[in-house]
């Protein structure tokens, strides 16, 4: 790829993260968080977007971001007060900003009708000051453009993110260095000079500092003066010292605790700093401004250090890791190139977390951010991951086959081969788990789209909504995530449109005018559970029932439990909205949601309390690559039924099996009759069904909520199977969802329960009449 293009792509990836950060900040502001750091975080994010856009000449985006940034700047400096109205305007402006980014990425432009009004609204807020269109906020702080040149020269595309993050640092160092301390917080000056013994005991200063960062906001300054020229450098001597300025509510004992394990092997000084303004460290008698400048100069320090090391190093390979910046493993034997790459690599995306994470406060100085970045991340092409996952899937199968063959060959369980295979099995499982974890992603990527949706739907319906999200960090396989967006979107729309009352209605019902919708993700029993709860009117059961009768979904005199009535809304063709609204009534209803959830191997349930609200609960597998299945035998074939569809299994008694019209078998399960489908016959493997009273019936629920009993000869057990596509080399087969490979190396087919149940209904009059027999 054209290096410039790839940098641009990185920029847009960055933008996504920055926008997420900004939105979080804005939402916090809307919730009344007027904390300087929150505002700063938003400012920085917007500023970074603008900076990047400047480098690529994305004029529309720059213009909009600039106005946005100016508003944030005014808020930050206290020139403007953060009112509810301002926060709401900013949120709407944020949506447009996101559109601008999207437009810049995908080509095209943002609708002026959307962009212009909000732009003038913002300009009105800041009194139009300093906002000539030509004035794009001082190019001096872009800091990005010169980097671009460097990149092209170097042909190394990953260089820009630090630059982007430096820009706000240079522009706004003060706030980062002297954050508003929380009440009761004190400033501490901590001198930390590890001795070489500390490293000899496998302690790492980087980890210690990272631990320290958890206590509060800190600024780390490296003192590398003791670092000798390379030829005099001893790999096992500790040369680096740090001075940490920590603002925390913790007391000295707590701080000291961080150094508990290394205290004897370092020179540690901890002293309180009077006053709140975070005075300079002792090493340099700097004013706040000077400190800021020092921090902004940090990259230069790195450069100087690098120059020092590489300049005097005869061969890069022997150059010990100076790592002044990274503050870890000072005596490691990395080469200079690695260090350079490290210093310039896109670490910033790994540590976007601007809010709530105290460590992020020091992020602007590229070096120290690296030292205490919680986790480093890399971006990997998804194809590569998928290839790896496929290969591991095959490895698992191959390993299982090998084990089985060794067992069958009659080797003793205690033989070395068998023991070795056991180890191999453990290892294989571990690899599989780790590989699956690579694809796992937090549901955040889906959740983060929801606040905007909630705002839009609320605007359109005239309702007031507060969306509360929890568990955004819950991880699930990427393929599942991709397919979660639609159902959640639909359910959220539904909850706001149908679930919540309008403000007047709510007040009349004695509730706050603003409705609350909670979106929550959590892990439970090896699955991911997503709950969407509103505090609206709840399901109007008489009306739902009435509609169901009207549409012929249930008989007029049907006796249904409250739960059954609630679940009627999942029936195809059911929509309670009196007027089909633009928002949720797009000709699809909750049945579509249910189908897509079931397509993922999940289930959705609803519980509702009139007047109090409803709660939808979705339970989904963590990955689509494997499936929990019940292995059964039918017509001498080994088949797998997805466990998610199975309710129970039972041994049918001959007297419970009846025939309707002489050919369709039904079975009585407690007080209800459900169709009894012989799997062997349904798949055409044999002509005659098992005689009543033989085999095992597996009660399943199809996507439409219809129940049926699948008759098989035997149940072999439950197993987790790796799903293999039949379509890859063949084509789809009615009644079969996919294939898998069992431990004996043979292919087993996975039943498509829904298709089996529904085709059975539709194909009734069709050919296989013989199956009526047998009993």
């Amino acid at each position: 790829m054209d290096p410039f293009e790839s940098i641009k792509q990185t920029f847009f990836q960055e933008c996504d993260e920055l926008l997420t950060d900004a939105e979080q900040g804005l939402l916090a502001m809307e919730a009344g968080d007027a904390d300087g750091e929150t505002i700063n975080a938003v400012f920085r994010a917007v500023h970074s977007v603008k900076g990047g856009a400047g480098a690529f000449g994305l004029e529309d985006l720059i213009r909009f971001a600039h106005v946005f940034e100016t508003v944030m700047d005014d808020l930050r400096s206290g020139k403007m007060e953060l009112t509810d109205e301002v926060a709401k305007t900013l949120l709407r402006a944020f949506d447009v900003l996101a559109d601008h980014v999207a437009a810049a990425r995908d080509g095209g432009a943002v609708d002026e009708g959307r962009s212009a009004p909000i732009l003038s609204e913002m300009k009105a807020l800041i009194g139009g000051e300093g906002l000539d269109d030509d004035d794009l906020g001082g190019d001096e702080d872009f800091g990005f453009v010169p980097m671009t040149v460097a990149i092209e020269g170097d042909d190394a595309p990953a260089f820009d993110p630090p630059a982007m993050d430096e820009a706000p640092a240079a522009f706004e160092p003060m706030a980062d260095l002297a954050p508003e301390p929380a009440s009761g917080a004190r400033a501490w000056r901590i001198g930390f000079a590890p001795k070489s013994e500390m490293y000899a005991k496998a302690n790492e200063s980087g980890l210690v500092l990272r631990e320290l960062a958890r206590l509060g906001e800190m600024d780390v300054k490296l003192d590398a003066d003791a670092l000798p020229p390379l030829d005099q450098l001893s790999a096992e001597t500790a040369y680096l010292h740090w001075t940490v300025l920590l603002t925390t509510e913790a007391d000295e004992a707590t701080i000291r605790e961080v150094f508990e394990f290394v205290e004897d092997d370092c020179v540690l000084t901890i002293e309180p700093v009077d006053g709140q303004a975070a005075p300079p460290p002792p090493s340099s008698d700097l004013s706040d401004d000077a400190l800021a400048a020092a921090s902004a100069d940090a990259p230069l320090d790195i450069a100087a250090l690098l120059a020092r090391v590489s300049g005097e190093a005869p061969t890069a390979e022997t150059a010990p890791e100076p790592e002044p910046v990274a503050a870890s493993e000072p005596a490691a034997d990395l080469d200079v190139a690695a260090l350079i790459a490290k210093a310039q690599a896109p670490i910033a995306p790994a540590a976007p977390a601007p809010k709530a994470e105290p460590i992020a406060k020091v992020a602007p100085s590229a070096g120290s951010s690296q030292a205490i970045t919680p986790t480093a991340t890399i971006r990997v092409d998804l194809d590569r991951v998928d290839r790896l996952i496929n290969a591991v899937g095959e490895l698992v199968i191959q390993q299982a086959m090998l084990s089985q063959q060794v067992m069958e060959s009659g080797l003793a369980r205690s033989s070395n081969v068998a023991l070795g295979l056991e180890d191999l099995e453990l290892l294989t499982r571990e690899i599989q788990d780790s590989v699956m974890a690579i694809r796992a992603q937090p549901v955040k990527s889906v959740f983060q789209r929801m606040p905007r949706l909630a705002r839009e739907v609320a605007d359109m319906t005239g309702k007031r909504v507060k969306l509360v999200m929890e568990g955004e960090g819950t991880e699930v396989d990427k393929t599942v995530i991709e397919r979660l967006t639609d159902p959640i979107t639909h359910m959220l729309r539904n909850a706001i449109d149908h679930g919540l009352e309008d403000p007047e209605g709510r007040i009349a019902a004695g509730k706050p005018a603003e409705g609350v919708v909670r979106l929550r993700a959590l892990h439970r029993g090896g699955r991911i559970v997503i709950e969407l709860q509103d505090d609206g009117r709840g399901i109007n059961r008489p009306r739902v029932r009435g509609i169901a009768v009207e549409r012929g979904l249930i008989a007029e005199d049907a006796v249904l439990s409250d739960e059954e009535i609630d679940n009627l809304i999942f029936q195809p063709g059911f929509s309670t909205a009196e007027t089909i609204s633009d928002i949720s009534g797009r000709g699809v209803g909750m049945d579509v949601v249910r189908r897509s959830i079931q397509g993922l191997g999940g289930r959705i349930t609803i519980s509702s309390e009139p007047g109090k609200g409803s709660k939808f609960t979705m339970s989904l597998p963590l990955t689509l690559a494997v499936l929990d299945g019940m292995v059964v035998t039918a017509a001498e074939q080994t088949l797998v039924a997805p466990l998610s569809a199975i309710i129970e299994s039972l041994t049918p008694r001959a007297e419970d099996v009846h025939f309707v019209g002489g050919k369709d078998a039904v079975i009585r399960i407690r007080e209800t009759f459900v169709p009894l489908i012989d799997v062997g016959v349904a798949l055409g493997f044999r002509e005659t069904a098992l005689p009543p009273g033989q085999g095992v019936a597996v009660l399943v629920e199809s996507e439409g909520g219809g129940k049926a009993a699948l008759l098989v000869e035997a149940i072999q057990g439950q197993r987790q199977v790796v799903i293999k596509s039949l379509e890859a080399n063949y084509q789809q087969i009615d009644g079969i969802a996919a294939a898998t490979i069992l431990g004996d190396g043979r292919v087993a087919l996975i039943l498509d329960v829904d298709a089996l149940v529904t085709t059975q209904h539709r194909r009734k009059p069709a050919p296989r009449a013989e199956k009526r027999m047998a009993g």
Binding site: N390, G393, E394, I397, Q398, Q637, T638, L683, G684, F685, K724, S725, L726, A728, N729, Y730, Q731, Q732, I733, D734, G735, I736, A739, I741, G745, R746, V747, A748, L749
Partner: protein
């Protein structure tokens, strides 16, 4: 395995073919289409498929459909034994296995040796046999594999 460039001056491109037997007839396909040849292993039958679909096997983790080529060509259905072989071929981006009796020969020939298929009535012949040629007094039919798998819609009906 590449084409024999040195002979390219002769009329028609030269190519290598793999010949195999089904019953008493001999067929061949382009060697470039053949991925591997392996012994027969039991298949997992697929429901609701034409009789020439023997089922699927596990080929190193991939699900490989197996076609009884004899039955597909309108000859007798093959009752596979351990001596039968599966030719793993790629056709249009898919990989599938062809059940044949035995692989008999590797033939080096040029396109101009191929004679057009005589106008015989059988549909299968028209569909699959691209041409005939004689080699060492034997007749070998050159087969096109493009339509070996059942078609998704049309043929199912």
């Amino acid at each position: 395995m590449s084409m024999i460039d040195t002979l390219s001056h002769t009329a028609g491109a030269r190519r290598e073919l793999i010949a195999f037997r089904i019953g008493d007839q001999e067929f061949c396909v382009d060697i470039m289409q053949v991925r591997e040849i392996r012994g027969w292993t039991a298949c997992t039958p697929l429901p609701r498929t034409p009789s020439y679909m023997k089922g699927v096997i596990n080929l190193r983790g991939a699900v490989l459909p197996i076609v009884d080529l004899g039955a597909r060509l309108g000859l007798a259905t093959t009752e596979p034994t351990a001596r039968h072989v599966i030719m793993v071929v790629s056709v249009g981006g898919r990989t599938l296995g062809l059940l044949v009796e035995a692989v008999s020969d590797i033939i080096n020939m040029s396109d101009d040796m191929v004679q057009p298929t005589p106008d015989v009535a059988c549909d299968q012949v028209k569909t699959f046999v691209k041409g005939l040629f004689a080699i060492d007094g034997r007749m070998v039919s050159l087969i096109s594999l493009d339509r070996v798998l059942p078609e998704t819609e049309a043929e199912a009906a």
